[in-house]
Amino acid sequence: MTQELWELLGKGILETLYMVLVSSAVAYVIGIPLGVLVFVTDTGGICRNRAVNFIFGGIINLVRSVPFLILLVAILPFTRLVVGTTIGSTATIVPLVAAAAPYVARMVESSLKEVDHGVVEAAQAMGSSNFQIIYKVLLPEAKPSLVVGATISLATILGYSAMAGFVGGGGLGAIATNYGYYRYDSETMLITVLLLVLIVQLFQEVGLRLVNHIDKRIK
């Protein structure tokens, strides 16, 4: 193990965290409204709208059904348009967001489904507007579940980011590909895999602790 390799891995970790955290944040900025929209327009939702639900649900399903590597390649022109290049960590954020946002939307939707309909009904009976129901009832009541969802999403996005290493993305995935795959350096490959496992564990642990802290139902 050389000093060089450690520096490489350190840089890889930072790049990976950068890609994953930034793309997750952007994916949530898109995914939360999208998930809410699909939830409230669904049958039994507070503002049912078949057409809206069908269109946005359809878009989510469409993107979700494209394998990540194919999606990554397919949107290369778009990536170049946005960040000016198709290689490196920043370029990877674009396809990561594209793949993660619909995933996050479904996670958000399923968290909202866990909120007891009776609570929504009570809020309606008190004269709440739909908007008030969304930001004062649905989202706060679903908060613990949303955090669990975020933990799962982070692990998934981390997996995607590693895959992006194959086609010029940065981070630990690129190291695993370049050293482990192309140079048959299985030691480095193993180390990167271990690091990825550790990062997933870290996300998981932080997420669960946070859930225990914020969920008022358990205490």
Partner: protein
Amino acid sequence: MSEDRIIKLEHLSKKFQIKGTEVTAVDQVDLEVGRGEIFGIIGFSGAGKSTLVRCINLLERPTEGAVYFDDTDLMSVGQAELKKIRQKMGMIFQQFNLLEQRNVIDNVCYPLEIAGVKKAERLERARELLKIVDLSEKEKAYPSRLSGGQKQRVAIARALATNPEVLLCDEATSALDPITTKSILELLKKINQDYGVTIIVITHEMKVAERICDRIAVMSEGKVVECGAVKEIFLNPKSDTARRLILSDDQIDESGQGRKVLRIAFDGQSSFEPFISSMTVHTGIMINILGANTENIGGKAYGQMLIEAPKEEASLQKIKEFLTEKGIYFEEGGKSA
């Protein structure tokens, strides 16, 4: 109905489409609820009571008919106006429906928050309400730490936050034990008397209706089959549904094995007499009691008893004569074979 009416339902119907077939949950209901009264809507599960009460605040939009609150036709008002009117109608539920991620005081503050009341004012009003429902010391507790009765008290405080004129109670005591039920009903009665809030109670328990209602409507298969003063219906039920609600189902089952049954309903003065003993002495007939249920309601003792009627017509006649002489209401049959 002593005073003017606050709610009026006119030819109200609600139909649902369930898997292509049309289900009529509420069928041509006409009802008037007087200002300041406690009105009960009673019926078995699936009779349409919960749908009916949801039509009053338009949580369910009626398929036909009209809902009047004071003189406002609710079906004709816009969304913004409807929200304002809903703030004048509190509602509580069987499952309490509190916000689990908010503590007690923030739950009570919720309706004030959406009504745009300032924070300091909200807290003051919420504390006042928690005092009324006797939960001041639980201000910071989260719902998951409260008992069912305490949760319902929070729900009541929350429903009263915006000073509503009407309180809708959808099976509010059905998830509670008898002792808690009693205390919640007493609280509702107090709210009705002290603050003049009109209360509409949905229940499947005759006991609940007897305890607090002034008038009741009996519902069956979406229709109101009987409506009147609670005492009147209790003593002299005209519909089969009312009769079955008065006698609990197991009492009916017990009496169903080919035995003839007499239901005796009595009030205040006569219930304190050694009634069964004197009947036995007078008629010389041994009395078999199948079920009994007596209670002190609104300062008067109400009660009913189910006795096995003798098979011989002569003996039965003797008993009937005795009851008539004593001025005690009775009816034959219950629901027996």
